[in-house]
């Protein structure tokens, strides 16, 4: 058993808001087996070297979206990234880029939560139906139009991959816009026009300069860059078409 144990150096960006002026790196020598993830490496450090090391995790199977961190500078879910792929080199883990660091590997996500709320992430029916009228029906084709954008697990790796969000934290950003697009594309929803005000706003889609890295790092293949860029076209159409057919009171 013990001869199978290899040692990897894990460098962790530590930050304690009560005692540190700024984050600093600390190195730990972690014994590991081939089936150990980076998350398990962090857990080993917490259990054996420093119980104050702080990080988020829950499902350890790439479903909950809690354990995202920068691993050698790349945003990844630490539960599905394996230590064996980095050995014998040193591995560096840091809090997700572009977010304020709360403590160690935990970032402040309150801005992201506010953005999620702002896009009205629920179906606002085109027309209310009574119980007697029955359920809202949807064809497989209509379902296909949005299903891809429902796969988001809010891990915010795409925000850590988006330099425009880093430069302007007010940008609604990839995941929230992908979710907005998911509801706009749903045949049962009728609020695309309501959401347009946000899409076309200062915080909206035109912050995006099509870097495209958000879609590369997305662990669920949501392709948020696609949602953002389709909505640039939608916003431009909305702007120009209202000269042809004015919409009265709408902004």
């Amino acid at each position: 058993m013990s001869e199978n144990l290899k040692i990897i150096e894990i460098e962790v960006l530590r930050y304690h808001p009560e005692s540190d002026r700024e984050p600093h790196l600390e190195v730990y020598k972690v014994p590991f087996t081939d089936d150990m993830s980076v998350l398990q490496g962090a857990q080993y450090i917490k259990d054996n070297f420093d119980g104050s090391l702080t990080f988020r995790w829950s499902c350890r199977m790439a479903i909950c979206g809690s354990c995202g961190m920068m691993i050698n500078g790349i945003p990844k879910l630490s539960c599905e990234t394996f230590l064996r792929d980095y050995h014998p080199n040193r591995i560096r883990i840091e809090a997700l880029a572009h977010f304020p660091i709360e403590k160690d590997l935990v970032v402040d996500l309150s801005g992201f939560i506010e953005k999620l709320e702002s896009i009205q992430p629920y179906i606002i029916p085109k027309e209310p139906r009574s119980l007697e009228q029955g359920e809202y029906l949807q064809s497989p084709q209509q379902f296909n139009d949005y299903i891809q954008f429902t796969s988001c697990i809010n891990c915010t790796l795409c925000y850590a991959a988006c330099p425009q969000f880093g430069l302007n934290p007010d940008f609604i950003g990839p995941a929230a816009i992908a979710l907005l697009h998911r509801y706009n594309m749903d045949s049962r929803d009728g609020a695309a026009e309501e959401r347009m005000e946000l899409v076309a706003s200062e915080e909206g889609v035109f912050n995006c300069s099509a870097v495209g890295y958000c879609s590369v790092v997305c662990p669920k293949h949501v392709d948020p860059a696609n949602a953002v860029n389709i909505n640039k076209t939608n916003a431009a159409k909305d702007y120009f078409l209202r000269f042809l057919s004015p919409k009265g009171g709408s902004k």
Binding site: Y15, P100, A225
Partner: protein, 132 residues
Amino acid sequence: MSKRRPYVRSMDGWWKKNPYFIEYMIHESTALFVAAYAFILLVGLVRLGQGEAAWSGWLDALKSPLSLTCHVVFLVAILYHTYTWFKIMPITMPPIIVGGKRVGPEVITGSGLLAALVASLVLLGLVWRLAL
């Protein structure tokens, strides 16, 4: 009193931190070469409007070693710009459905590059015939 003190990291030099961002910056900066070449053509148009002497002067300037070197550099930059332009095209487009299936990104990129190649060859053919 709250002990919170969220630390905001600097964005200085952000584009040097990831090879993907470096590639992005190269891609974006090659657009300047596209603009420069458009400007050269525009100058040609203005010189044409100024009469035969001006036009001949512009043509002679194009034949200088400096101009030829510049054109080789422009060609390389514009080829790279074309390639990366079509590489990101799939993420900028609404889904295209053919025969009930979504067209893959490699098909969109490939079609774009092919269209650029055909357009360039047609243009080259036309100019070649004019020059003969």
